[in-house]
């Protein structure tokens, strides 16, 4: 929904933006290299012509069998310019580590934790890289396509409770 923002991004980062197109329904999309995502996001947020000030919705997709296997998707929105842009970032399975954008938008925090929890993509520079939905002892990442639909998680030993009034868990002990 913003050709202008897409053009601006392409001019500023000719190397980092590998492809740009308009998808179904008129969504403007840019494919961005993994190494430059933080730099690109910082530019998109601060540049007055793009001004993507609202925290993006970040999710991941597992394209098992193709290379790179994972993809991070950032849905950007600007409250001042009322335009949108989607960034797609390929993440290889061998090195699933991406720079975090939580220092830029506080609202990216849980979305990145979600991507770690369910897809196993780690974020460098994230202040609190824990699982979001699952417990810490959970084995595997459930939204990966090779995660079995049947089967069970191993039983985990009971957590040590130091003080009965405080309970177990990340904050209690």
């Amino acid at each position: 929904m913003s050709q202008a923002a897409l053009q601006r991004l392409k001019e500023r980062f000719p190397d980092a933006v590998t492809e740009a197109y308009t998808g179904p329904g008129g969504d403007d999309v840019a494919l961005v290299k993994k190494e430059s995502i933080e730099e690109v996001c910082r530019f998109l947020k601060s540049d007055p012509e793009t001004a993507f000030d609202m925290a993006p919705y970040i999710t991941a997709v597992d394209y098992m069998g193709s290379e790179p296997r994972f993809e991070l998707v950032y849905q950007m929105y600007s409250t001042t310019r009322n335009h949108r842009l989607r960034l797609r970032v390929g993440v290889p399975e061998s090195d699933p580590v991406v720079r975090s954008v939580t220092p830029l938008w506080k609202g990216a925090n849980w979305y990145e934790r979600y991507c770690w929890d369910l897809y196993g993509i780690r974020f460098e520079g994230h202040p609190d890289m824990r699982r979001l939905y699952m417990y810490e002892e959970f084995v595997g990442h459930p939204l990966r396509k090779d995660y079995s639909l049947r089967g069970r998680q191993p039983l985990i030993p009971e957590r040590q409770v130091d003080e009965p009034f405080r309970g177990p868990g990340p904050s209690g002990s």
């Binding site: 329904g25 506080k106 309970g167």
Partner: protein
């Protein structure tokens, strides 16, 4: 979070008499939830208290996680609708519509006008239900139980009409790819207009009970404040963002369905506190009322689903009377509709903000990926920052007005 310290936070002045000395307090860790009368949904909040003030807070979510996205990847596109009902179970039709719009965006499908009006009418009725639930629960938790009784009466009147339309109070499962599942029963419009009058009367009662109530004002004004910058930075949308002074409403910013033909206002607050968030909801119910009345005036008889046998089930006489109809029915039911490969992000203004669906199709009958941007996620994320340094009692109205719904946040 630091470990609870054993030392006194307020040092006792030596010269003061023991009776005048401030009461020495130790920091104390308290678990609120996952199952607590004042927490909607099952969120565990670990609160480090310093006396009555919240020193630090951490949220632990996932108790209601049921693998929404994984389930959706393993059923046909049409079978996803019942799952979307359970995202925000108070206003399920808005989830149905959001998901349907995502699939239609991918497929490039045009929806008949009457179906669009029906989607708007049911969405706005559900918006009123959602706001009534929030205000009722807030009233209850601040000690005004009468509000709950009035609110539930109004909400159930609306839900009764929706039951007549979809067959269920909560899990409506009303929208379909290409349209809606059924047309309104005879005499429904007049009934809805009658209950809108009754709902308005109840809303006025609630307004009189709460809006100038000293206790409510004391507990909500100036508590749970979010600045305009923080609200944008956290990705707030919907009434919570507008209470902070940003006039962003998807219905106005990028109109979908027939919202561009309807005349309604978007209330915008200025303080970003609980009271403003409450006022936004009260005003939005009025606007929803206006929208529904306008839709009844503008709506014309016509088809309620697109005439495209690739995506929409053919009418029953055709299924039983012709081989083409029977084949189309069989293929849609058994294999699922074939949505063209690609990806699309569709977003609607749900009761709590922007509800987005990111759908990826690989051309088979099932979603390859279906991501949900639940509006409550961002608000819940910001709760610890909103609460730090504030009184524990303020947590209750703040938790009410951000209206976190476990079904959509924890998926």
């Amino acid at each position: 979070m630091s470990k609870a310290t054993e030392t006194a936070v307020h040092p006792v002045p030596a010269a003061a008499s023991p009776l005048d000395a401030p009461f020495p307090t130790k920091r104390m860790l308290v678990n609120l939830g996952p199952s607590h009368p004042a927490m909607h949904g099952t969120v565990r909040a670990v609160v480090e208290l310093d006396g009555e003030a919240v020193h630090a807070m951490k949220l632990d979510i996932g108790f209601l996680h049921r693998g929404f996205e994984k389930s959706c990847e393993n059923v046909t596109w049409t079978q996803v609708f019942p799952y979307t009902d359970r995202l925000n179970y108070v206003s399920s039709i808005m989830n149905n519509v959001g998901y349907a719009l995502a699939v239609e965006k991918l497929a490039g499908l045009q929806v008949p006008e009457r179906a669009q009006y029906l989607r708007v009418i049911t969405s706005e009725l559900h918006r009123m239900c959602d706001h009534l639930t929030l205000i009722s629960a807030m009233g209850l938790e601040l000690g005004a139980m009468t509000v709950l009784i009035y609110g539930m009466e109004a909400r159930d009147l609306i839900w009764d009409r929706l039951t007549e339309l979809c067959g269920a109070r909560l899990t409506s499962n009303y929208a379909r790819v290409g349209g809606v599942s059924r047309d309104v029963p005879p005499g429904w419009n007049e009934k809805v207009l009658r209950i809108l009058d009754r709902t308005e009367a109840l809303r006025v009662e609630i307004d009189r009970l709460l809006t100038r109530n000293r206790i409510v004002i004391d507990r909500t004004r100036g508590t749970g404040v979010v600045s305009r910058e923080d609200a944008i930075d956290y990705g707030f949308t919907g009434p919570c963002l507008r209470a902070s002074g940003v006039s962003y409403d998807v219905r106005k910013a990028s109109p979908y369905l027939v919202y561009d033909r309807l005349d309604f206002d978007v209330p915008v607050g200025s303080n970003g506190d609980n009271f403003d968030r409450y006022l936004m909801r009260m005003e939005e119910m009025k606007q929803s009322d206006r929208i529904v009345r306008q839709c009844f005036d503008q709506m014309q008889p016509g088809a309620i689903a697109a005439d495209d046998s690739r995506y929409v089930l053919p009418p029953k006489p055709e299924v039983y009377g012709s081989i083409e109809g029977a084949m189309a029915h069989f293929k849609i039911i058994m294999e699922g509709i074939k949505v063209p490969a690609g990806e699309a992000y569709a977003y609607v203004e749900a009761a709590n903000g922007e509800l987005g669906f990111y759908a990826v199709s690989d051309g088979s009958g099932r979603p390859y990926k279906l991501g949900v941007r639940a509006p409550g996620w961002n608000m819940l994320m910001a709760l610890p920052q909103m609460m730090e340094g504030k009184l524990l009692a303020d947590l209750i109205p703040t938790f009410d007005t951000i209206n976190m719904i476990g079904g959509e946040v924890e998926q």
